[in-house]
Assembly symmetry: C2
Homo-oligomer: 372 residues x 2
DNA sequence: TTGAAAGCGGTACCAC
DNA sequence: GTGGTACCGCTTTCAA
């Protein structure tokens, strides 16, 4: 039971516990951390210490411990700027659980715009940043974003940049310099001095277009979300679509590609559908099942027949793709399991000397249904 | 420019910077924190310090600073166990940005199952936890979950429990005892010694059922997701539905309520639709637009007419609700803005003495379309 | 079996 | 204008 007069006084320290138990701080540390190395503490003493700690509601101070230990067991992962898709969220969550099982404390921290560096006294409120008269706020004129400084200050064991976050080589250098044992980027395969888990969204575009070409389509529209936050995914998917035709996966057939900006609103979809005949397309890859469903509906309302007039394929294989008529074909994305990822991180933390490597973290396949 | 021979050596400390700049650690601290109180440092010295810090890639150690300062500017927020909905994600993200603007470092940490306490040496790997022979792992027989201990160890300025996370009174006590200035629960209005932002999902159920009753429906089915992770939202929504009829919002009309378990799969929906006639319902509130779309489709495939035979209403007003035929009515949920929330947190941190209060963080309204 | 003491990296008070 | 220096809370030798 925690002491009733809770809130007020300052948090109990190990010294408080020691005093209450009538022992030294060292003994408290031994008992509470309970490693085999300190098995030589009398049962009675241990009981007294535990009782005192409980009574006081003692919780060790992570910062003090980390400071003393020199290394933390914290894994920092970037939090997505935008509401991410469900499969993506699942991956992040799985990874988090698996890492905790390995003894790491996982924290998702925003990788967003500048602001502050977490300094107790100095807030990021506009107007405060200019007052140090030096050569600029805090150095880092070389492109290192402020967020990464905040990360480095936390001295994590590992730092994981999930898309759409990107790390510059300078970011990686800074983190490593700060003792981060594993710096990992997940996403596009650009190396940067960091280890990486490739999750190349281009493959999604390639697979979609390859499928359409296989089905005999030659004039392919590619929906590009107007929503800015999706760029990090959308651009590579479009690029992959282009790459597919460049490599001539259609057996040398000459395929025409048309990017189609589309916002996630009915109006936008209706507008696109209205000018559809003029576009002269016989297929469309819609970035995502969500966009695909929206477009499909608008096309049908405009009298365009799917798949007769135009083949439609989405991606991510969401439930929504199975609920339309016709049922939507989709590029299914299979992520590496969170457990695998966690093991990878752990391995890297243990042997930080290892040369940066790349691993595939994603495989794609086409689920063909009735819309193509 | 950061030093090329990056990775190897241990991270530079302020002492390293001092040595390189030929000054004392105190001076380094003054220059780098650049408060007006230290305006009496010569311009030349400041330049030398900055240059040294840059050259070394120096980043202050957050733990050391927090230790010294006694208080951190960290806000801990629970990360959802399950992929949360988009509006919810938006709220979380907005809050995060706004808090950063106020000078806080926000970290989302999992509030999941037990495991470890982040202790450097001791992992949570099965088999390691039993070896301290005491009265149990680390005390806490009173229900305080392990996660909260991990939170408390980090000595955050504020702790925010987002649904579906719940905090017990013991959790709250522990956190406050650890110096957390603001402990806030967002979600169901149970107070617990903590401040709270009520976001009562029951209102969603009430609004939906009230709408259906108003439309003259009397035998109402309520879809309850079979997915376990959604309980925290689903249960209160169902409860709210019941409450609506109990309070007789239908003007004393006697309304029958039937819970309908449904998994987010076509099979499950088809099965439910198959036994629909036997259920004798004239309306259904489907938890969510996602479930509503799924059910709507299955009902239509089974020959049930919407809204003639049965009125269907969803919730969350997702885009999907506007893409079905008929278009789906939905309970729209309006969250408090992230900025408001951030301001609330900040206020609480500044005046931790304040008595626990409740605030509404959500308002609901029905968007009537063609399905009811 | 237990205690004393030296730091981990930063900050800030008080001298010089 | 700058440099000592005493902490913050915890871990971990080394003695006793």
């Amino acid at each position: 039971m925690t002491d009733p007069r809770s809130a007020s006084a300052s948090p109990p320290t190990s010294a408080d516990v020691a005093r209450r138990a009538g022992v030294s701080r060292a003994t408290v540390s031994y008992v509470l951390n309970g490693a085999e190395s300190s098995a030589r503490i009398s049962e009675a003493t241990r009981a007294r210490v535990h009782a005192a700690a409980d009574a006081l509601g003692y919780v060790p101070h992570a910062a003090a411990r980390a400071l003393r230990a020199g290394a933390s067991r914290m894994v920092l992962m970037s939090a997505p700027h935008v509401p991410a898709g469900p499969l993506y969220a699942r991956f992040a969550h799985e990874a988090q659980s698996a890492l905790r099982l390995l003894g790491y404390t996982v924290a998702h921290v925003a990788a967003g715009a500048a602001g502050d560096t977490g300094i107790p006294g100095v807030t990021g409120i506009p107007g405060v940043t200019g007052d140090d008269g030096g050569t600029g706020a805090s150095g880092n004129e070389d492109g290192t974003s402020v967020d990464v400084r905040a990360w480095a200050e936390l001295r994590p064991a590992a730092a994981v940049a999930l898309p759409p976050t990107v790390l510059t080589p300078a970011d990686v250098t800074l983190l490593k310099r700060a003792g981060t044992r594993a710096v990992i980027t997940v996403g596009p395969p650009r190396v940067a001095g960091a280890h990486s888990l490739t999750m190349d969204q281009r493959e999604v575009g390639s697979a979609a277009v390859a499928h359409l070409v296989e089905r005999g389509r030659r004039r392919v529209g590619v929906v590009v979300p107007a929503e800015p936050g999706l760029d990090a995914f959308a651009r590579p998917r479009l690029a992959g679509a282009h790459a597919a035709v460049a490599e001539g996966s259609g057996g040398g057939a000459d395929v025409r590609m048309t990017p189609l900006p589309l916002a996630l609103t009915e109006e936008s979809a209706a507008a696109l559908a209205a000018r559809w005949p003029a576009l002269g397309l016989d297929a469309v890859f819609a970035y995502n099942d969500e966009y695909a469903v929206l477009l499909l509906r608008a096309l049908q309302d405009a009298g365009v027949r799917v798949p007769e007039d135009v083949a439609v394929i989405g991606a991510d294989d969401l439930l929504a793709a199975r609920l339309t008529r016709p049922r939507l074909s989709s590029v299914r994305v299979e992520h590496a399991s969170g457990a695998d990822f966690a093991a990878y991180v752990d391995e890297l933390v243990r042997s930080p000397g290892a040369r940066p490597r790349r691993r595939r973290a994603m495989t794609v396949s086409v689920t063909a249904r009735d819309s193509t």
